[in-house]
Symmetry: C2
Subunit: 127 residues, 2 copies
Amino acid sequence: MDETASTRSTIEAYVTCAERRDWEGFGALLAEDVVYEMPQSRERIRGKPAYLQFNRDYPGDWHLEVRRIVADGRHAAAWIDARVGTEHQDACVWFELSDQGLISRITDYWPEPYDPPPGREHLVERW
Amino acid sequence: MDETASTRSTIEAYVTCAERRDWEGFGALLAEDVVYEMPQSRERIRGKPAYLQFNRDYPGDWHLEVRRIVADGRHAAAWIDARVGTEHQDACVWFELSDQGLISRITDYWPEPYDPPPGREHLVERW
């Protein structure tokens, strides 16, 4: 398996383990010094123990489904459909992997709905 | 050049041409039936002419810089730093390319800042 295939498989496992609440499997994918960032709220979590706790404690009966994973050497991006009850939100997650193939950096975006600005109605359709 | 390298180069050119307002070069990267979607506002633009006009007419002295491009076969994701004046916003853009290597589908997310929810202060640092 080449580096890209191995990265893709690691990111697939990251989502699967989170969805299954398999925190042992999830932790095995992470570097000890993993850094997790949410640029929208300017929050950063450092280290595997804190990041595992953040995920274990995350409130709500959340579920994750991969919409797409794009892997490229030691980089990857995951487009995820996150659901809590009937509420859906898409996430865009950027990953970096270490020399050892462990996830060393995660940057997580949670885009929220907004109203379209005026002036482009003639070019767009809505759904 | 393999498919992934060709995809990566196409997405690099997409950002470069947009930044340069090189609409001829930009249009040459797009499939005639390109579909552009912004899920946050549930807006969709169909076809190269409308999508070119949308970009040409986009208001403000905007500038784009690639933070990362991840390419994987005919899929790619671009993490972009968009700037208007001193205002920065990150974009997460998902691409699909056609058999001919033209961009056939673009899904564009513009995550906005939000305040962190309470309850995780013990795990996070802010910046």
